[in-house]
Each structure stands twice: as C-alpha cells, then as structure tokens.
C-alpha cells in the first residue's frame, strides 16, 4: 500500500515538473529595466534625457577635446607617460591610436542616447509631459545634444555615418553604414539646432544651476553661430545673426568683470557661462584637473600630461597679457626634467592652470561647453569677414578690455583677422578651441610648420610635419574593423 502510494507520487513528480516551465523560465531583470518597460512615464523620459546629458562627463569632454585641440596645436606640449598622447603632439596620429576610437565611441554612444529620447518620448502618454510644453522641451534638448555631439564628430573626422534613430538590430546591413558627406552631417546638425531653437526656452526659471546645465535657446543659437563659422561652406551672415541672438538673449548673458572669476572655482554657472559640465564632486566629479595640476596642488610628483608651450607663453607676453596668463598658466619647480622647459629636475615648468582644484581625482571644476566670450569673438570674426571692421573692433575690444588690455591696434581686415585669432588663443587656451580656430582660418599648416620649439636637452628644434590632410584625423582602425564600409581619410593608411 505504502509502496503504491510512493510509486504514484514518483510518477506525478516527474509528470508535473514540466508544464510550469514557461513561467519558470520567464525571468525579468531585477536591476535593469528593459526596452519594453523603461519608457512609459514622464519620469522615464526625464531619466533618459539625464542619461543623454551624462555623456558630458565622459572622457572626451573632460580632456580629450583639449588634447585634440590644444595639445595637437601650438598651445601645449604632451607630458605624462602615454605614448598615444605624445603622438598627438607630434602630429603623428595613427588610425590605431586608442584615444580616437574611445572618442568616436563615446560621441556615438552619446548620440544613441539622444536618439532614444527622440524616438521614445513622442509616444509616451503622460499628462506631465504636456504640462508647460515639457515634451517639446525634452525633444529640443535631445536634438541639441545630438547636434552638439555630431559637431564634434564632423569637425574631427569630416563626413561620418549619420544615425538619427536608435539601432534596433544587429544585422550588418543595418549597422554597417557608409559615411555621409560633411555637408549632410552639417545639415543635420543645423536642422537639429534649429528645432532646438524653436522648442527650447531661454531659461528654465531663475536657477542658474539648471539654466547652465540644460540646453537653452541661447545655447542652441550659440552652437548655430559656431557651426556656421566652422563648416566649409561657412556663412558669416548667419554667424552674426545667431551670435547676436545669444548676446541679446533674454537670458542676459554677460562677460564677468574679472577674467579670473571664470576659473577660480567660486563662480560656477555664472552669467558668462552659456553651458557648462555640472561636476558637483563625489560620484559626479571631474578627474581632469589631477592630470594637469602641479605637485603643490595635486599632491602628485609625477609628470603631468599637458604642458603649456613656449609659443603660448610668448603669445601672452607679447600682448602683455598678465591677467589671463596668470589665470591660464602656473609656473612651478617640478621634480622631473622637461625637454622644453627644464634640462634637469627641479627646474621651473609651466602647468595648465585653468582648472584649479584636483581634490584627489574628484574635482568640482567645470569645463565650459560654451561661454559668451567665445561667441563675442566669433561675432567679431563674422563682422570682420563681412567687412564691418569698426564693429568687429568693438566686439574684440570688449573681450580685450575685460582682460585689462588696451583696444586693439589692428586696422586692416587681415590684421584684424590675425588679432581676433590671437585673441581667441589667449582667451580660450585650454578650452578646446585652438585647433578648430587654426583650421577655420586656414592657417593650421603654416602655423605648425613655422612653429619653433627647441628641445633644451638635445638642443634640437622639434620638427612638426603638418600637412593639409592632417587637419582631419584618421578614422579609428578599430571602427573600420567593425564597419567595413567606412574607408579612411586621405593621407592615412
């Protein structure tokens, strides 16, 4: 009897374990959302947008943009111990340089987040999104972000694949795309920025820590000014129009009276800032300053990665620009030798000093994404190009006077052009602008080939071999391995 009971039990146990399996196997992630449930409410839309903003705390925006604008140019030397960074200074950037692939990856990852917002938010039904036009603001912010990142891509590499929808398949036919032309990419950037201008507010209220964090109408106009100046088929009328829109914005941007206040760490989200990366320390901190600041501030004794050049120091000195020089560069005796500054250890070496606090790799120092002085100088550039030299000088002098310098003495259009370029150099050093400025003014090749920088240890002048082709960087080899349709920029193999 007992045995029979057990027999039955056994058969039942085997027979009934299977049917419930489908449920048993249908597990949902515990610590992740899924694409099915992640975008259903207004809060989800905001979180996806925050995720898109978070790309500003990636390495590209922390300091790789400085490497590829300031170190690659005449402003700074490479330091530290990284061969790939020395290659940037040497104008010897190979397609396998790992930083290129990182930058490419980070920028496109940022774009994919913006694309997701643009794809999902229109379909979310939540009344909170329709209150105060928030849905359109979100779409405007995401469009701005997408344009901002594509701008970095197109000025670095020229035409790149234009992806404006989230990639939903791993099929090579959908993932391996050819490059669009430079013009197509710029047109998309302009379209996105125009959409942003139409949908973004001037401010989100009185809180500067929101207004300088989020994309605004002012920021979108500022980017339109920069984009129309930088693109090959530039249009200085548009540059002027958009620059003026920024300068006269209801957001009331204004130059800070004291240049040093911009970088002293006590004036975050100030009136001159149009947009800046919102480092607050702790988990959202800036590791960049530790890489650059001298032993007395960083506490380190190792050689820093970015060193101001003789040419930059001379440029400040030639203008008698003490205020901006002292804000931008700090000389200190370094416990290492430097091939351009110090033949032996403990000699005086300059340090990049616009970020001033290292705080153990966790600084709250901010990088400006856009600030007003840049736009004012762009306006000067546009006015000069449009043959309105007097107004151009006025704009230029605004920036010079703030730095404690007298009005410009440049008179001819050519002189003025050079003066504005030089002013931008002194004003915006270490702010990831120089290489774009040199290329926009079509002087990158001459400036680099005429640069005289002498290695004090070997007494040999450094040979910068600049060519027109090097104005664009090579498409990262790792990306070419993944996308066989990419091809390579001229001059690289």
């Amino acid at each position: 009897m007992k045995r029979k009971f057990i027999n039955t039990l056994a058969v039942l146990a085997v027979a009934f374990t299977l049917p419930s399996c489908e449920d048993y196997l249908d597990l949902k992630p515990i610590s992740d959302a899924t694409s099915e449930n992640a975008y259903t409410r207004a809060a989800d839309a905001e979180a996806a947008l925050v995720g898109a903003y978070d790309s500003f705390s990636q390495e590209y925006y922390i300091w790789d943009n400085v490497l590829f604008n300031d170190v690659i140019s005449d402003n700074y030397y490479a330091g530290g111990d990284n061969a790939e960074i020395f290659a940037i200074e040497d104008l010897n950037i190979s397609p396998t340089n790992g930083r290129l692939f990182n930058n490419w990856s980070q920028l496109y990852n940022a774009i994919s987040k913006a694309n997701m917002v643009l794809e999902k938010v229109p379909g979310i039904t939540d009344i909170k999104l329709d209150a105060g036009n928030r849905r359109n603001q979100i779409l405007g912010e995401a469009s701005f972000l997408r344009a901002f990142h594509y701008y970095q891509l197109v000025k670095t590499w020229g035409g790149v694949p234009l992806i404006v929808k989230p990639v939903a398949s791993t099929d090579p036919a959908e993932t391996q795309l050819e490059r669009n032309t430079e013009t197509e990419v710029y047109n998309q950037i302009v379209a996105d920025l125009e959409f942003a201008v139409a949908n973004l507010p001037d401010t989100y209220g009185g809180d500067a820590s929101v207004n300088k964090a989020r994309a605004t109408k002012g920021a979108a106009n500022a980017m339109l000014a920069k984009v129309w100046a930088q693109r090959g088929d530039r249009d200085y009328n548009k540059v002027l129009e958009y620059a003026n829109a920024v300068i006269t914005s209801p957001a009331a941007y204004s130059l800070l009276p004291d240049f040093d206040d911009l970088f002293d760490g006590a004036h975050y989200n100030n009136a001159e800032s149009i947009m800046e990366i919102q480092f607050v320390g702790g988990p959202e901190a800036n590791f960049g300053p530790q890489l650059l600041l001298p032993p007395s501030i960083s506490g380190d004794t190792w050689r820093k990665f970015v060193t101001p050049s003789h040419d930059l120091v001379n440029a400040f000195d030639a203008e008698g620009d003490i205020e901006r020089k002292n804000t931008t560069i700090l000389f200190e005796n370094a416990p290492w030798a430097d091939e351009f500054w110090s033949e032996s250890v403990n000699g005086s070496v300059p340090f990049a000093y616009k970020w001033k606090s290292a705080n153990g790799w966790a600084s709250t120092n901010r990088q400006y994404l856009i600030r007003l002085a840049d736009i004012i100088l762009l306006k000067a550039e546009a006015l000069n190009a449009l043959n309105r030299p007097a107004e151009a000088r006025d704009a230029l002098n605004l920036v010079r006077n703030r730095a404690g310098l007298a009005n410009t003495t440049a008179s001819s259009s050519a002189e003025l052009k050079t003066a504005i370029l030089n002013e931008r150099r002194l004003e915006l050093a270490q702010e990831a602008q120089r290489w774009d400025d040199l290329r926009r003014n079509n002087v990158a090749v001459d400036v680099m080939n005429n640069l005289v920088e002498v290695n004090v240890i070997t007494d040999q002048p450094k040979d910068y071999v600049m060519t027109a082709q090097k104005q664009l960087l090579p498409i990262p080899q790792s990306e070419r391995n993944r996308n066989l349709k990419l091809g390579q920029n001229e001059g690289y193999n």
Partner: protein
C-alpha cells in the same frame, strides 16, 4: 547496487548451504564480494570478515569484486569453499561514474577519461585542475598564472565557443558547480571526463564543452578507517631575468637625453630579490570513513595554506565534509553530501605595466637606482616618472578575498514495482564572498591623492538544482537493458553589494566606515533558470553489442520566447569484437572494442541575454542635484537561441597480454554552429557588441592513451601511463568579421581570429632587422620590401598559440617499500607572444630594461638585432615577429619519492599504512622560451586570446615533504 538487492531477495531453492571466507592473495579478508551460484539469481555478499553463506551444494560459485579477477569455483558437494581473489590489473570492470548513473568501463560507448585518486596523492592539495593536467588525453588544463589565487581553465577537445564559455561543466556529486577553486582535492575519489557528445548529451545544453564529473570519497566496507595526511613545502620561481644595473640604466637614460641629479639615486636594489620570496605551503587533512551493511559515512576536515612566491600573495582554505548513505529498508535509500569551505586569498596585480601597478613588470622595469622607501616612509618612484616601485603594489594595499561556500545535496532512492527505481535529488550551492581593499592615505601617491581608498564588495551566489529520475533495469542471460527518464530544474541568483569610499584620516581603520566621501555604493541582483527533460536508453546484447542513446530537452531564461527550448539527441554504439566467437583464437588480445558515437550538445550564455536592457546609473547633476539617468544597454533579440555543437567520435579500446597493455584511441570531429557570438558592432550604433547566433567553429583531433604494466614482480613494479592529444581548431564562419583581442603594452591587439584559421592567431608586423645606418628596425611590408613605416595592411599572421599536440607521461616505479613517480607533461608547437619584452626591450621611456639592450645600436655601422633607444616612439617595438617565441615545453610536472614503513613494523603500532614522501613540482622545464615561464596567459581562460605573456605571475617550482598515515 539495485540488482544486487533484488538478487538477494530471490528465494533460495536449494536445501544445503555452502559457506566460506574470501581473502586476498596476502590473506586479508575481503568484504563486499559478490558470490553467485552460476546461472541462477542465487547470490550473496561477503560480510566484514569476508565470510559468506549460500544455500547450494551443487554447481559453480562465481566470486566477483571490483578490482579483482572474477573467480569460478565448483562446489563439488563441499560445505566450505574458501576463495582467494587475485587483484585484476585490467580496468575493464572498473565502475565509471557517468552522468546520472554508473557504467562498467567495458560497457562504455562514448569517449570518457577517468582520473583516479592516485593522481592526487602526494601532490600539492591546491586545485584539482592542476592535478589532472596531462593525466588524460583530450583535456587541456590552462594555468594562466602561477599565483595561489589563480583559478585554472580547462578545454576538452579544444575551444568550442568564442563569446560564450568554453569551460566544461563541473559536476560535484551530481551538482553542477561553477567555482572550482574551493573544491578540496583530498576529498576527491575520482574524476570522470565526458569528452564526446554522446556521453555528455545527458547534460544537453550545458554539455557542449564536455563535462567533468567529480565524485567525492565515501565510506568503504571494512573497519572504520582514519586517514591523516600532512605536508609542508616551499616554492620559488625557477628562473630570473637579467636587467640593467644602475650604471647601465643611467647610460640609457642619458642616451634619451634624460638627466637628473643622480646623486639622489645611489641605491642598488635587486627588485626580483625584493619581490620574489620563498613561498611556503602546508596542508593538514583528516578523514574518517566506514561502511557497514546499511550505512556508509565519510567525514573529513582540513586546512591548507599557500604563501606565494611573489611577495604578499597567498591563499588558504578550511574544508569540512560529511557524506552519509543509509539503506532504510529494502526499497528506500537516503543520503547526503555536505561540504563547507572557507576560502581566502590575497591577489597581486600582474599582467599589467608598472604604470598601472603591475608587480611583475614593476619588478623588471623599476631601475635598481632607487630604494624601497623614502625617509618619510612613502614608497619611492622612478627618477623620471611617478611610477612607484613594485613593493608599493604588493605592500601598499590590503586586498583580501574571503569566500564561504556550502555545497551539498540530499537524495532519496526508492525501488518500486519490479526493476524500477525512482530517485529524487535536491542540490544546493551557496557562496558568500567578500572583497576588502584598503589603500592607506600616506604611503602611495595614489593613496595620498585620493586620501585613501576603502572598498568593500560582497557577492552572494545562490544555486539550487532539483532532479527527479525514474530508472528501469532489466537483465537476462544474454542482454541487459536500462532506461532513464527525468526532469531537472535549476536556478541561480546572484546578489552583489559594493561600496567605495575616499577620505581616510589614518591608516588605522581599513574599513569603509572610516572614509568621508562615498565614491560609489550600490547593489544589484540577477537570476537565471533552466528546466530540462532528460532520457537515456542503454542496451547490451551478449556483452558484444552495446548501445547508448540520450535525448534531452532544455529551456533557458537567457533566450527569447521564439527559441527558448533546445533539443539534444545522441546515440553511440559499441562492438566488443573480442567477445565474438570468431575472435576466440587470438590469444594475446583480451579485449577489443570499437566505439562510435554522434550527438548534439548545447551552450548557453549570460543572463537575460536576449533582452533589450536599459541600464541605470547614467546620472548627471542638474540644478545642483544628481538626477537619475538611464541608457540603452543592449539590443533586443527575440530569436536568440542555443549554440549547438555536433560531435562525432570513433574509438577503439584494446587490452593485450592479460591486460598488461591497454590502449585507447579516439578520433573526433566537433562542429559548433549558431555560435553565440558577441559580435563587435560599429560603435556608431552606440553599442559595443551584440549577441547573435552566427558562425561556425570546428575542432577535430586524435587522442591516444596507453597504459603499460612493464614489470610486475613482487619486489619491483614499473607502470607507465602515456597520453597524447592532437587538436586542430578552425574558425569556419564568423560572417567575414575578425574577432580581435589581446591589447598589450599600448601597441594594439595581438590576437586575431579570422575565418579559415585557428582561433587567436598572433597578428602583427614582420621584423626584418636593425638597419646599421639608422639603428631603426625595418619591417617587411606586404610586397616583401623593407620599410621603416609599415602600414596597418602590412600586418600578417605571425604566430599560433595553439599547440600541435599536448602530452603527459607518468612512470610509477615501486621497489619494496620505496616508490618513485615521475610525471612529465608537455606542450609542443605553440607560440607565445612575449609582450613582457616589449616593455623590457622597447626602450621608449624611463623604465628599466632587460640586460639584452646593452647590445643596442648606438653608432652608425653597428650590427646588432637590438634597435636604438628612442624616447616616446613605439616604431621600434611594434607588435611583430620580434616578440613571438616558441612556447613548446616539456616539464617534470611532479616527481615523488615515497617510502612506506614495512607492514610488520606499523602493525605493531596499530597502523594500516604510513608513507613518507617528497614531491617536487615543476622540478625542471625544457623550453626555448626566454620569459619566466612558457605556461602563461595574461588573458586567463579567454577563448580567443591565448599564449600572451605580459608580466604574468610565473609558474613556480615547489618542493613538498609529506606524510600519509592510515589506521
């Protein structure tokens, strides 16, 4: 077992009884021997004194016992029939644990390797993987590093996946087990390796990489047995590398144009002496076991500790185990295995440069000119860069990992109806791990910058398996048949917590509560479940024709609703030609069996693999407050399914000359399709990779295994085991893509897997030589011409890390009470990419270099193979043939000299056995490799990056002195 019980219950048919005692040749009583009246079901088992009684007076008694030759004795009306059984050198009758059951070796139709406990005796009691390396054909054990905390990696018949795991399934007493580090080898009775699809198919979707079945020790019949084993030992690296001395380093730096105040740097430190130390190990294990009619038990406990040969590295393990089996009555048997392990290690950072705190490269690239500490107690740095000396990496931080693990099962077996058995098993594997890290705020520069770092990570893994099976067994005079059906459900849950803090005021409190700034804190959880239906049929006719067929259905939570279930059939056949009548004349051949099998097995990947996941933590401050942010983390793929491996195996087993010689050969072909390939996506998609079922891999090979009892005299015996395996691996199809990995030394990736070639070939430039005029290396471009600036297209395949063959040979010699065991193991034809030399011969920066750079080019006209030193330029040290070396080796893996006290002596002190031994591991290595050790991989058990040496903790040479006592 079941058969025996059933036989015993059959009623007696004769009136008179016969009794007797069964002994061994040496006169010891032999309990547990099967005694059957031939041609009937009438039988019994000898008791603990070797005695039996059976109702019979006519006919022939058949005595059989595992490990002894069967014996037939006619009763001839005697009432007392004693028997002496002779130990059988053949292993044909050996019972082999196979999935969900056992089989006699002669009945096995698949490809199965067995390693017995003798392989673990007198060896370091560290990890079973290192102990079975070279012991069975077709099994490649990869020890990527020599550090005590390193795990091992195993490949059975080659690597059969790219993105999913290629590790076999490890099953301990029926419970699949992911972590192998905490398994105590002294508790292992035997290891069975299921190599082909037909034997592994009962594990279906977990069997594609083969299955390693670990059976732990259980009580054996006889008096309770107490076994004590202990050893102590030493270890050290077997080679040192020569580096530049202080003066030569200064010369090199001066050549770079680097100057400094050299009067500050007058030390002369031998960093290899500072970092390498005399490793020490000790091990103590005690086991008590026994078995009577209804109960068997095994209880053990022990502790082992290994202090590594590199400063600060160590591991130790406490282990306790209980196994209990109880026959409740004639139809119910219950039992349990339960083990508790406490594992602890301190890891050291290897496989990375001095810049990143790598200890091995730090040791080589830190110049001798500096001492260890500055006067203020902080660690010194390179004179030109703040690369701290390697002692900062070993002593500067606390790095403790602790893991407590409970692994066990309970089961019940119920015999019902006639010939049926129902078995229900519940297994658990519970692991709680904790990692503590503390970098004080004073001694290291990173610690000072961060004001100290404290990390506490915990990880919890909770796994259970429930399997229910029904077995049917039926045997007749001429045939036997068995069938098994069952269900299996398994679920794993992982839970992790982490916290990292900075801002410590002192070095006194290493826990995170003392830090002031939370850098990160969080936890996450995930789950995975599997459900399966299993079935198997075996049939044997006349001991001649053998059939095994399996069918398993598997479902996994990793796969989408479209392809959640996988189906895995297999069939294998055996033909024992030696049992055929026509074969009876061939005297020298005792056994000859042909085997052939085919089957499908599967492989799974990750958790939630098919889902489009949206991750969290992409937070960003807006309005001065950190806002929560999300990001798309993966692309949804509802069609994702199993990776399937189809394997065909043919084999032959031969036993000659009264089984003095046994020989097995197997040939196989393994085709893996629908690879679960983590395809690198263009980063323009926003994603790095996406899992797809694309591509095919192939492994094919031959395995030979030979056992020979060369001499079997009373006083002297000599046995030889030899095995050799040839495996050829080929990427058949990966959609024309390249799988690239193995980024080293900032020179890019070295390992490329492309279609039509084996996995993980080295890819780089061809070095031509050093140009006497300029001192620069010239490379050979794709047109065969020399160039100083080769293009990326000039790279080609420059090496193959896959061995032509691997082999192992064990010679066991015994003379009276002495025994000598010599175990040689080797690998032939594999290349190693010595990226350590890029760091030590690259001459690009302020790192100290290898002694060979003394021969570098200095002035035009110099003829040398070492280029000039150029600061900051990697042009002379690209990934190229210059750093590819032959990694073939033959090593004395273990040599043991043992002495057992004479039995006359030990029986006086009530001992059964007392053996003293000394074992040397890695005593010598024959290799042309120039690095520390050729058995290396900086990328661990990676499927596509193999044989890369990049400052890897080397295998060490060790010597242990031990004693085994049984009473």
């Amino acid at each position: 077992m079941l058969g025996m019980l059933l036989l015993a219950s059959i009623q007696a048919w004769a009136q008179q009884s016969v009794s007797g005692r069964v002994t061994t040749e040496s006169g010891e009583s032999l309990p547990g021997v099967n005694v059957v009246l031939k041609g009937t079901g009438n039988g019994t088992i000898t008791d603990s004194d070797g005695k039996y009684q059976l109702n019979a007076n006519q006919g022939t008694l058949v005595f059989s016992f595992i490990g002894y030759r069967p014996l037939e004795v006619a009763i001839d009306n005697r009432s007392v029939v004693d028997a002496t059984m002779i130990e059988d050198v053949t292993t044909l009758e050996q019972v082999v644990v196979v999935g969900y059951g056992t089989q006699q070796k002669k009945d096995i139709t698949g490809a199965v390797g067995v390693v017995g406990e003798e392989a673990f005796e007198s060896r370091s009691n560290t990890q079973f993987g290192t102990l079975i390396q070279g012991k069975t054909a077709g099994v490649q054990v990869i020890s990527p590093s020599g550090k005590p905390s390193a795990g091992f990696s195993m490949r059975i018949r080659g690597t059969s996946s790219i993105s999913a795991s290629s590790e076999p399934l490890y099953v301990v007493d029926g419970i699949p087990s992911a972590d192998t580090r905490s398994i105590n080898p002294s508790d292992i009775e035997s290891i069975t390796v299921l190599k082909d699809a037909s034997s592994a198919a009962i594990y279906g979707a977990q069997g594609a990489n083969g299955v390693v079945l670990i059976t732990t020790k259980r009580g054996k019949t006889g008096a309770p047995r107490v076994e004590l084993t202990a050893y102590t030992g030493f270890s050290s690296p077997w080679r040192k590398l020569k580096v530049l001395n202080s003066e030569q380093y200064r010369d090199l730096m001066t050549e770079f144009g680097q100057t400094t105040d050299w009067s500050q740097y007058t030390a002369n430190t031998d960093w290899q002496n500072e970092i390498f130390q005399n490793g020490r190990s000790q091990n103590y294990q005690l086991a008590i076991s026994g078995k009577n009619e209804r109960t068997s038990y095994y209880v053990s406990g022990g502790w082992m500790q290994q202090i590594g040969a590199v400063r600060s590295s160590e591991m130790d393990r406490y282990n306790f185990r209980v196994s209990l089996d109880q026959q409740m009555n004639d139809w119910l048997k219950v039992g349990t295995n339960l083990s508790v392990t406490k594992y602890h290690d301190v890891d050291v950072a290897d496989n990375t440069t001095v810049n990143s705190g790598g200890v091995i490269l730090g040791m080589l690239s830190t110049p001798p000119n500096i001492g260890i500490y500055r006067p203020d107690g902080t660690f010194t740095s390179n004179p030109f860069q703040d690369w701290e000396n390697p002692v900062a990496a070993t002593d500067g931080s606390d790095r403790d990992y602790n893991n407590t693990r409970l692994l066990g099962n309970v089961y019940a077996e119920i015999a019902f109806l006639k010939n049926f058995t129902f078995r229900s098993n519940l297994g658990l594997d519970y692991q709680a791990g904790m990692y503590d890290y503390f970098l004080d705020p004073f001694r290291t520069s990173y610690g000072r910058a961060k004001l100290g770092i404290g990390i506490n990570n915990t990880d919890l893994r909770n796994y259970y398996i429930i399997d229910n099976t029904v077995t049917y067994n039926r045997a007749t005079e001429t045939s036997s048949f068995s069938a098994l059906v069952g269900t299996v459900v398994q679920k794993t849950r992982w839970e992790n917590n982490n916290i990292e803090k900075n801002g410590f005021s002192s070095d006194g409190i290493p826990t995170t509560n003392a830090g002031s700034i939370i850098v990160s804190a969080g936890n996450n959880k995930s789950e995975k479940s599997n459900a399966s239906f299993i079935s198997r049929v075996t049939y044997d006719y006349n001991d001649r024709y053998l059939l095994t067929a399996n069918f398993r259905v598997d479902g996994s939570s990793s796969f989408g609703p479209n392809n959640r279930w996988g189906y895995f059939p297999s069939v294998s056949l055996g033909w024992r030609i030696s049992e055929e009548d026509f074969f009876s004349g061939v005297g020298v051949v005792d056994d000859l069996k042909l085997r052939a099998g085919w089957g499908l097995v599967g492989n799974d990947i990750g958790t939630y693999a098919f889902l489009g996941r949206v991750g969290t933590g992409a937070n960003y401050p807006i309005g001065g407050v950190i806002q929560p942010g999300t990001y798309p983390a993966s692309i949804q793929n509802n069609d994702l399914k199993w990776e399937t491996t189809e394997q065909t195996n043919i084999g032959i087993d031969v036993a000659l000359l009264s089984s003095r010689i046994e020989f097995s050969a197997d040939a196989y072909i393994k085709n893996t399709s629908d690879l679960l390939l983590n395809v690198p996506l263009p980063r323009s998609t926003g994603f790095d990779t996406g899992v797809q079922n694309v591509g095919k891999l192939q492994n094919r090979g031959i395995e030979l295994q030979l056992t020979s009892h060369n001499v079997t005299n009373d006083d002297f015996s000599w046995d030889t085991d030899f095995n050799i395996s040839f495996n050829r691996n080929k990427v058949v199809d990966i959609l024309g893509q390249q799988v690239i990995g193995g980024g080293v030394a900032g020179r890019g990736d070295v390992s490329y897997s492309v279609e039509g070639k084996p996995l993980g070939l080295f890819y780089g430039y061809i070095t031509g030589g050093v140009d006497p005029a300029t001192g620069d290396i010239y490379y050979i471009d794709r047109n065969g011409e020399s160039t100083f600036n080769p293009a990326t297209e000039d790279r080609t395949f420059i090496g193959n890390p896959n061995p032509d063959f691997i082999y192992g040979m064990t010679n066991t010699l015994a003379y009276k009470n002495f025994s000598l065991n010599i175990f040689l193991q080797g690998s032939q034809g594999n290349d190693v990419f010595n990226a350590t030399r890029i760091e030590t011969e690259g001459m690009t920066d302020a790192k100290n270099q290898s002694q060979v750079v003394v021969n570098r080019w200095r002035t035009p006209g110099d003829i040398t193979d070492i280029p000039r030193a150029v600061a900051g330029s990697t042009n002379n040290s690209r990934i190229s043939t210059r750093f590819v070396e032959d990694g073939s080796y033959l090593r004395a893996k273990a040599v043991t000299l043992g002495y057992s006290l004479p039995s006359a002596l030990i029986s006086k002190i009530k001992l059964n056995q007392a053996k003293f031994y000394v074992t040397g591991e890695n005593l010598f290595t024959i290799t042309g490799y120039k690095g520390y050790d050729p058995e290396v991989n900086a990328f661990g058990g990676n499927n596509t990056v193999m044989g890369v040496d990049f400052g890897t903790y080397p295998q060490t040479r060790s010597l242990i002195f031990g004693v085994n006592v049984t009473f």
